[in-house]
């Protein structure tokens, strides 16, 4: 029994260090890290776990499919995607989150469920109006073709994803560190009450956080649509759930730890997906969420947080 287990583990490790598996895993990790930043930014200022984040991405993907269907040039489709996602993100904040800002986390979380439900149902109505299942966004598909580097197939989108994620993260660090709004956002995520007392304007700070997280959702929408050109109403739902778990595992209180958590869970799922033997790959979610439980039990305040973290008032 233990011999079987040991040889299974060796096989797993041997496939896990293959460059192909590694590159794909890093590519998934990069996209998940961007989603984690989008979720973490809003959580920082609003203490709100935005479950409807995936539906923002889904709306962007629908915009891309719409543009592709009408043979618009790719750049126009991407502009439309950004416009739709950012507008929806701001509208969500104005209509739902702002009135609920002072409510309990449970109420806010369920409100984001309601928004997610609503957007998903609208998407389903749009999807079914032309009697097809899913809308193809074919115009971006050429980015999905591979380059062969040293015997490893690297899809162009993987390179784009890794580069974009790196650029976005550097830009974000500069934004948070070097601008007034960025400074105010960091202050607000540490202690909103005190930040307001010394003149930070709540609506402006929250508005910027929502705006930036909307921009990130649009970027993620473009990259996910390249990888899965068939857009349905459950687009990005799975990814959002996994990223939410990753963000909590990494540590929600700091943006950096949340981002690392998002990357880590994307990387882990890419690794498991590439290295698990075929007959066990259907149990990938069990392995992944088993890891989530184990990590949370060992480090409940977050894998990438230092010290014990703030004492939570149970």
């Amino acid at each position: 029994m233990s011999a079987v287990l040991a040889s299974g583990l060796t096989d797993f490790l041997r496939s896990a260090i293959e460059p192909q598996v590694q590159v794909d895993a890093i590519g998934i990790g990069a996209i998940y890290a961007l989603m984690a930043v989008g979720i973490g930014l809003v959580f920082g200022v609003l203490r709100l776990v935005n479950f409807a984040y995936g539906q923002l991405v889904m709306a962007g993907a629908f915009a891309l499919a719409f543009a592709s269907d009408r043979d618009w040039p790719v750049w126009l489709g991407i502009v439309l995607c950004f416009g739709v996602v950012i507008a929806l993100s701001m509208a969500m904040d104005r209509v739902v989150f702002r009135p609920l800002r002072t409510q309990s986390p449970a109420t806010m979380l369920v409100a984001t469920f309601a928004v997610a439900f609503l957007l998903q149902a609208i998407a389903l109505l749009i999807d079914q109006s032309d009697d097809t299942l899913g809308e193809p966004a074919a115009s971006l598909a050429k980015l999905n073709l591979p380059w062969t580097i040293l015997g490893t197939d690297v899809r162009k989108i993987t390179v784009v994803a890794i580069v974009t994620a790196a650029v976005c993260l550097v830009a974000l660090v500069l934004f948070l560190g070097r601008t007034t709004v960025g400074l105010q956002m960091r202050a607000a995520s540490m202690d909103f009450q005190t930040a307001r007392l010394i003149g930070v304007r709540a609506n402006r700070v929250i508005g910027s956080a929502v705006l930036v997280s909307g921009i990130l959702a649009a970027i993620v929408a473009v990259m996910l649509t390249v990888q899965q050109p068939l857009v349905t109403s459950t687009f990005a739902l799975r990814e959002t759930i996994v990223v939410l778990a990753g963000v909590v595992v990494g540590g929600m209180n700091k943006l950096l730890s949340a981002t690392l958590g998002g990357f880590a869970i994307g990387y882990a799922s890419g690794l498991l997906g590439g290295a698990l033997p075929t007959e066990q790959s259907q149990y990938l979610p069990s392995f992944l969420f088993g890891l989530v439980i184990l990590t949370l039990l060992v480090r409940p305040a977050g894998l990438f947080t230092r010290g014990r973290g703030p004492v939570e008032r149970v």
Binding site: L125, F289, P300
Partner: protein
Amino acid sequence: MRQLRTFAPVLAPLALVAVTAIVGSFFERSTEIYFINALVAVSIVVALYVFVGNSGVLSFGHIAFVAVGSWTAGVLSVPVEEKPATMPNLFGFLSDTTVGNIPSLLLAALVGGLFALLAGLPLMRLSGLAAGIATFAVLEITNNILRYYERVGPGLNVFSSVPETTDMQQAAIGAIVAIVVAFLYQVSRFGRQLRAARDDAPAARAVGISVYLQRLIAFALSGALAGFAGGLYVHYLPINADVVYLDLTFITLAMLVIGGMTSLWGAVVGALAVSGLDSLLAEAENGLGGVDLPSGSRIVVVGALMAIVLILRPSGITGGKEIRLRRVARVAPAKEGAT
């Protein structure tokens, strides 16, 4: 009189369930099914309430216990001679055994409760978001295993040939049992200790309450009720692993929060209100009373109304309070939920 006042809050939810069942039984089968559905939803939401309402910790994992209950009751109730056709890969002891309706429900409760106890042993040490995600992980793992492990059930297929014993009567009795158990728990010393810990954890610890132990008790009890509700469910609809997964998790949590998550009355009102609205809109999609909604718009309306209720009444329709026997004006306001 004092006794009466202690037990008064349970009367309103029970009456509401009874009225729902009686009104529902006047309709023909095609409409009756909405009422049965609503009563099964009451059992699930009340199970969820026992843990979430009393402890204040969100759980996304309770549908896993519902699923395990459905699997237990479903697999054990299919007649032995039909099992090889629908579930050929079952473990021997499962394919050789068939039990009746009531034993299958009790076993569903037992398995649900044991599973919740085992899962709760490590998980109840967590709180806040970590607890939420960990319970969600339980749901993911459970669903993943039930979906692909055909030694314990039908895998990806639907349960067929489970006797459809959950009629209006059984659904109503099931909901009543769940409500009575939940109520007896919340007025017991365990329930009161857990609610004390919910409202002020440091103070509760200071008087010697073990928050971990109280949460574990509530988690196991609500897991048992959820398993029981899952048994009711599989005896009424041919379900599969997709039915007891994400959508049911969100809709039941939404029912609880919309009703008011800190009271039993809120759990029952929320479950009935959201199911009722959903059924009305489903009928309207088929063209009821001149209103003719396009198909699929039901969920749009339910989602929008859920958001509106939360914005207008963030603590739920009932405000999270139990219904009182009499309103007595006092100088000091009575503690909520304690009556």
